[in-house]
Amino acid sequence: MADISANLLGIKSPNPYWLASAPPTDKKINVLRAFEAGWGGVVWKTLGSQVKNVSSRYSAVNFNGARVMGFNNIELISDRPLDINLREIEECIRLFPDRAMVVSLMADNDRESWHELIKKVEDTGAHGLELNFGCPHGMTERGMGAAVGQDPEIARMVVGWVMEKATIPVITKLTPNVHSPVPTGKACVEAGTNALSLINTIQSITGIDLNTLVPNPYVAGKSVFGGYCGPAVKPIALKMLTNITQDPITSRVPVSGIGGISTWRDAVEFMLLGATTVQVCTAAMKHGFRIIEDLCEGLNNWMDEKEYKTIYDFIGKSVEKITHWEDLDINYHHIAKINQDKCIHCGLCYIACEDGSHQSINLQYGKPYNTYTIKEEECVGCNLCQLICPVVDCITMEEHRVAPEYLNWKEYQRLGLPLNDH
């Protein structure tokens, strides 16, 4: 059995799975249930100035009958009284001392408010702080959340205030509602944050009720932009995580990865791109805390198969595999191959290639079943047919290098090699 425990700046947890700052972590009853289920840690839902929430709060994007492919919310930070939150945090730490307790914070935009809040939270015995510079709705209108994270200089200033006071590790949570998370990430690292986490939610409208014409989620005939999350955002989160783990300055600090993690496979991907721990919310909101079992078991089995003893044996291993387009090997070429024994003659590869790609699939008419074959000389190796084929391993991509040596675009131009003639 592999050791799946994590240690982020001394914040220890028996596994790398933390519940993200959100409704599942806003009170003792949930957090205790999560710890009982086996979660490694929690980031307690953001504490700060007193707010009030509205009804309704969530909406979702379904896809082809599958529910909640994407999810959004317009909920603000914790609307419970601060003293109750602090008391419950303390109780949870006492009952589960081996679990990570990080508390998310979003104070009013002045040094005193931050210092006061940090003092109160540290008194609970919490193991770390997470600065919420990412919440994209509601709080931004008050100059907080993403309003801080979107401006590197404001973020730098606030982190500076925090570092003056904090005695426990500080994680700064970044917003994805920027062209790149790096400028703010850099400012925060330079101002002394001990770690980063990302992504927070993405501003969104999930849909519109075609009867009432009101977008979701519905609040008395109106709606607002909500924060998008769930499986749909994972690719964006992975990209932004890589921006952070590849940058020479932001990569100096450890990262807690967030964004659409639903399975152990998702978690491994975040860790391969540099995350030390991962945070989960939507999947737990959808299925409950019980998903932690497979999250841990799947990770453990995969690590055993790959012979990784600890998570540090593979964290960051894929970071260097994301390169610049100009460095890609132009001499690499692969061609689709259709296994006729597996083909079910649905024609999806054909029509996708014909209308959406390079007209590289041949249709031989049959009644009722057509035969589809690859025109090897036409195939550009784009993968579209393979992605669309409903049968596992029916279409495979076979390597046919143009030439054995590595050749990138700059070299290609320098050598004056021919461009496409069609």
Binding site: I344, H345, C346, G347, Y350, P368, Y369
Partner: protein, 447 residues
Amino acid sequence: MPILNNRLTASEYQQNFSDIHPPFETADAALVEANRCLFCYDAPCTKSCPTGIDVPKFIKQISTDNIKGSAHTIFKSNIMGAGCSKVCPVEKLCEGACVFNLMEEAPIPIAKLQRYSTEKAMANHWQLFKRKPSTGKKVAVVGAGPAGLSCAHMLSREGVDVIIFEKENKGGGLMTYGIAAYKVTPQFCQDEVDYITAIGGIEIRYEQELGKNLLLADLQKNYDAVYLGIGVGLARKLDIPGEELEGVADALTFIYDIRDKGYEHVAVGDKVAVIGMGMTAIDAATQAKRLGAKEVTLVYRRTENEKPCTQAELDIAKMDGCNIIWLAAPKEVIGVEGKVKTLVCSRMQLGEPDASGRRSPVDTGETFALEVDMVIKAAGQMPFEELVQKNGIENRAGKIILNAGCETNIRGVFAGGDAVNGGKEVVDAVQAGKNGAKAIMDFFGAV
């Protein structure tokens, strides 16, 4: 062993004759299946439908909650799409070709999804077609069965006025008269005829029988074209001794009575033999059982490999507890006091392939006897040979011969459906009606 009616209670009848393929109970249930559909390109299901319904499209339209569009997609190709969703042998047509079969997975329930959309369209009286401006042309259609109705609807869409002459007092043809009650109800058949004719420009005149109170010559004189969708009518005779005994019934009459008179008014024996293994034979056997017959035996002269019915149909008969005797041909019905007592059968064996390509049954000379009190004949139907002959229409053993343009040897007289093919599925007749309408429009264009 008496032949009796009223064998069961009202609730037993209700249960026995309830919808054999019930519809989706909820929209969500339909969505689950609609979302499974792969949306194949040049789809095998569509290619396996005689009317060429764009199946992937209509299913996609269910999944996007465009039910009106879905129904239109179906009806555009098959105006009897609602009825066909209940009576088509889909396991050998669309569903049999579904690519999921090739993955050893359950095919998409295409018929059930088709029923989902078309039932909504009928219940809400959605009129999905608009007639083109009148062409001033008038066409006489003989027979209000699937071929005639399909032809009439297509012509009406093109701005042609149609009068349908029907010999019975209800429309729908074999859909109304020849199919088991647990598949389609008489009310449904009536609703379907009403739905089709609601487009306008179609008038049905009932109890008008060609060769009796209706003459082809008059139709030719009074209309711009004539379409014959007269079907097949006469039950094939067994031509064996005892066929006239009390207790020997014709399957179509038996099936029709169940639909027309009500279950409790149809008499059935204790022990029933059904001759044949086509869809009609199955419908007769299962319904005899469901009316309360104690023992029903299907007798067929070839083996299971040559059976004309589908496996799904045979399974219904087996599930209903019907016995099956393969390689047996009726030889004689023996009666006592004029009533059926025994069916004597010849044991057969398979010989050389015949014209149908199936191995033909050959008498072994051995016989056996079945003690029965009722024999139902379902050995196929005969075309109206005499009628066709008398009207000078070229035919092959009564089956009307057409040129490439669906026209008979008589200029301006077109035909299609069972009268031409000798008896196929409803869906084949619908396509024949469409082809006929197109041929008639071409004919109008040419003259």
